[in-house]
Symmetry: C2
Subunit: 284 residues, 2 copies
């Protein structure tokens, strides 16, 4: 497996693969890989002749008070893991390769309205603008047939899908289900921030989702009642502070009154200083 | 020459050409072709194995009080002219092919800051957002090696170049010089709106630019003095109402105090109800 840091070199790799009749799968990540990422990579491996994983902590999607500088990085370990998952090339550009004049001097942004202003977007202004912009750049660099995203970032998937459709991008967006620890905690690179007590408390997210699922299975259709019960469960965890709880339409991300069909149950919770997200897709 | 109306059919054409080792040139237009467009097409023809010209009056780049509905259209004539210029395929999609839910339901836009807020952008809010978004879509559909734009729309060229660089698009932006009538009027599809008296008056734009050029050649370096003299010349034409006169940096489009190097001299003037633009690139 090779590590590529230059846009021109990725393009050359892709050109070569295309000339050999290969299809191209891209797994965009911010690195510090866990089993969730590796599942994406293995899926891509099974489906394409060339698999590229990008590892780039994108400054454009972090707010001024967020954890850009602290975000965990370990390229050596990531490269080993990506290789073990069958990735052909890791694209790990330095910041100035994607933002030659620096991220602050970018003039062009991909803006997705409405669906970016809900859930995480309401708490992280500019976050999804940064995500959409860097994903558009990665798509323009790699031109993958399929790009793979984790279902844990449910809103990100909705935003990227909508962007790709609205901008006539010739790429399919594929997802893989959330990978969890045995006790239910969704894998996240940010779990490394948790001390032992917080690690215990962090199970409150998946417990709240299981509660929602039980209620839905039992026939509860009142979205407000589900949100309230989830909020009460989280309120019972002293180390947890609820950021949002959503029972929403999975395409528009608008809050539902009644769960009449498919729904996305999503939440963000702060455990100490660490903000974690999780979700459940209810098929209706 | 074929006329293609579906995105999937354009993609198939391009795929076929690529497989045959051809490069691809794209000439995006709004149709009602004139010699300016045809020069772009002939240039593309000389440089590529496959030349696609798009003809699409893009609703997204017209303001509510602008001439979207009235904009002149004549696909049959355009197809004949494009064929005569050596174009292989005209891509003329219906609006619903590029905006399946209608332009009003688009959520995703390519926004270029700052340089879109000057010159024409200051008078046409949303115009360059519409331009950047549809050009991004056309680039994603055709994936040209080179896209050709007329220098008459100088700000558009600056915006598209910046968008392509910021979003890591793998396309070169090429321009051709402004094509003019014998009396100096820059060719424009909108010239068809002019009645005979207005047609006479419309030469005021190129006359103002010639005056600027004379002054620059004579050593005038005071940008305000050049703008003032141009304004006086235009003020002397009863059918003309000046929209803006700019002597600006050709990359940032910021107004200059002193012309110390290259400059863009640009103006927009209303002749009756018709808004015309023209410009001069001063190499410094």
């Amino acid at each position: 497996m090779e590590i590529v840091t230059r846009v021109a070199d990725v393009r050359a790799l892709v050109r070569q693969a295309r000339a050999a009749g290969k299809t191209v799968g891209l797994v965009p990540t911010m690195g510090f890989l866990h089993e969730g990422h590796l599942t994406l990579m293995r899926t891509a491996r099974a489906e394409h002749g060339l698999v590229i994983a990008s590892i780039f902590v994108n400054p454009l999607q972090f707010g001024p008070n967020e954890d850009y500088a602290a975000y965990p990085r370990d390229l050596e370990r990531d490269a080993r893991l990506a290789a073990s998952a069958g990735v052909d090339a890791v694209f790990a550009p330095p910041v100035e390769e994607l933002y030659p004049q620096g991220p602050a001097d970018m003039l062009t942004f991909v803006e997705v309205k409405d669906i970016t202003e809900r859930l995480c977007g309401a708490r992280r202004p500019g976050h999804f603008r940064g995500v959409a912009t860097v994903v558009a750049k990665l798509f323009n660099i790699v031109r993958p047939d399929v790009a793979y995203f984790g279902q844990k970032d449910a809103q990100q998937v909705v935003v990227v899908r909508r962007m790709a459709a609205d901008l006539s991008m010739d790429v399919r967006i594929a997802t893989v289900p959330i990978v969890r620890e045995k006790d239910g905690l969704a894998l996240s690179s940010r779990n490394v921030y948790l001390n032992p007590a917080e690690r215990q408390a962090a199970t409150v997210l998946s417990r709240a989702l299981r509660l929602a699922e039980e209620r839905l299975k039992a026939g509860q259709r009142d979205a407000a009642a589900i949100r309230r019960e989830m909020g009460e469960l989280i309120g019972g965890e002293p180390l947890a502070a609820c950021d949002y709880i959503s029972v929403c339409d999975p395409a528009t991300l608008r809050e539902l009154d009644t769960v009449a069909g498919p729904a996305l149950v999503a939440l963000a919770v702060r455990i100490g200083k660490t903000r974690l997200i999780d979700n459940l897709q209810w098929e209706g």
